[in-house]
């Protein structure tokens, strides 16, 4: 089973490596949205630093969301999803392996670049560790929850938009706690509670979503 | 009756438009729902009958 998951992980990483644009793209989207925001709203430092936490989290969520669409779709379209499902292993292993690669490609780079982004939006420096920690716990949760939506819309033509509708409501708690934690840190308040909640949601998502997404794939 | 006149009932001391539009929405939206369910039901009945007749 581990071997099976490793085979999928290896394949998906290979696919990303073959098309490196794929990898930097969620990242670029993230940076662009954050960069566009001051353009659309106002370049004032005071205003920006106030909204920074929220903007970063919303942008991170959108970047994750967009890259989720193809999580299972490409595999479905070329028939390789069928082959994966025919393998003699439970389908949640497959989901877990694919979500892991998705996070590696879309979530991790985002976390690494977040200090830079924080500076651009004048987020106080002392809030940066909280930002990174909350992203570290939050982005895998987003990937996991998103997998349910991605699995459900697999095989539906033009499902990208449908996906948004399905999973944005599920993202609400993550966004709220994620951005609240950063905002609290910016104001110098304690963040342990938020982080604990984010961790709890991560564990919860880890337990529920592989099953849900796995059954959705088999429909 | 709480109100003295029909006018007072309609006006509700200035709150009339708000209250009545809410009740209107309630009735209209639920009415549409029931009407839609009913018309779908009739349509399905008709189709089922047609199918049975065709199969005979």
């Amino acid at each position: 089973m581990i071997k099976f998951m490793l085979a999928i992980v290896r394949r998906d990483i290979l696919l990303v490596a073959r098309q490196p644009a794929e990898m930097i793209n969620p990242l670029v989207f993230f940076v662009l949205v954050v960069a566009l925001f001051p353009l659309g709203v106002s370049p004032e430092a005071s205003l920006l630093s106030e909204v920074a936490a929220g903007v970063i989290w919303v942008a991170a969520m959108l970047a994750t969301l967009l890259s989720l669409e193809l999580l299972f779709k490409l595999d479905h379209d070329d028939g390789s999803l069928e082959q994966l499902l025919l393998a003699p292993y439970p389908s949640w292993t497959l989901v877990l392996a694919k979500v892991f690669v998705h996070w590696l490609v879309s979530g991790l780079p985002l976390i690494l670049i977040s200090p830079l982004i924080a500076t651009m939006l004048f987020l106080p420096t002392h809030a940066v560790p909280a930002l990174m920690l909350s992203l570290l716990l939050g982005t895998p949760t987003l990937s996991l929850l998103g997998a349910i939506g991605a699995a459900l819309v697999t095989g539906v033509r033009g499902g990208g938009m449908l996906l948004t509708l399905l999973i944005l409501p599920l993202y609400v708690p993550v966004i709220i706690f994620g951005s609240s934690s950063v905002a609290a840190a910016a104001q110098g308040m304690a963040v342990d509670g938020y982080i604990a909640l984010l961790a709890a949601m991560f564990v919860f998502a880890l337990m529920i979503t592989p099953w849900a997404a796995g059954s959705a794939l088999k429909l | 009756m709480y109100f003295e006149s029909l006018d007072a009932l309609l006006n509700m001391a200035g709150h009339g438009p708000y209250v009545w539009s809410c009740y209107g929405l309630f009735v209209a939206l639920l009415g549409i729902n029931i009407w839609h369910a009913r018309s779908q039901n009739l349509k399905a009945l008709k189709q089922a009958k047609a199918l049975v007749r065709r199969n005979q």
Binding site: F4, A7, R11, L14, R18, D78, G79, L84, L86 | -
Partner: protein
């Protein structure tokens, strides 16, 4: 649901299998038993339900009426359908590698040998996107030489394959059945092997 006790030596049985799509019954009362060493050619006109049947057998299409049974515990099935399940950006060799990795593993030498068997020597490191229609199908078929499956479910495996290719392919089918495997396949072309058993879906269709 009743099958003879000897069924334990069978690879695959169906029990009153039926299929309905969009209120149209495709076939019903389908009872057949596939034993080791058999090659079944599923026939029927376009839209008869051949693809649907193969997918039901593979477990990729829901079975609402009747049953599909794999009496033996460790039956391995390989299904190759209209969609080949190849990643266009990966090379032929890499594709075989992950496909084989789904239930086992393979060495590069084995994969190169399999690709040579299907006539793709020299194309091992070409990405699948750069292959022609027939070459793509050959990559998918190379899997048959690599993975050990007892039952092959092949949906129109001769599609896009050239004449020499079809001759070779029949040879592989023959060897597989001789080695104790079983094949269920569809095709609109004839199969020139002596052991072919024919399952004509039109006999199970409603009038």
């Amino acid at each position: 649901m009743s099958f003879p006790s000897s069924a334990i030596f069978h690879l695959l049985c169906t029990d009153d299998l039926a299929c309905e799509r969009d209120l149209r019954v495709l076939y019903s009362g389908l009872n057949f038993t596939v034993k080791a060493g058999e090659l079944w050619h599923i026939k029927g006109r376009n839209g008869a339900g051949k693809t649907t049947l193969l997918r039901q057998l593979a477990g990729l299409h829901p079975v609402d009426t009747g049953k599909v049974l794999y009496p033996r515990h460790a039956t391995k099935v390989i299904y190759i359908g209209h969609k080949l399940g190849l990643k266009e950006q990966l090379t032929a060799d890499e594709n075989l590698s992950w496909l084989a990795g789904l239930d086992g593993s393979s060495t590069q030498q084995q994969r190169y040998a399999a690709l040579e068997k299907v006539g793709l020597r020299g194309y091992e490191e070409n990405t699948v996107a750069q292959l022609s229609a027939g070459q793509k199908r050959r990559v998918a078929l190379a899997r048959l030489h690599l993975c050990k499956g007892n039952i092959w479910l092949l949906d129109e495996p001769f599609t896009s394959i050239d004449q020499q290719g079809i001759v070779d392919e029949q040879d592989w089918l023959n060897q597989h059945t001789l080695a104790g495997g079983a094949v269920l396949m569809t095709s609109h072309q004839e199969i020139s092997l002596p052991q072919v058993k024919i399952l004509d879906l039109s006999q199970y269709a409603p009038l």
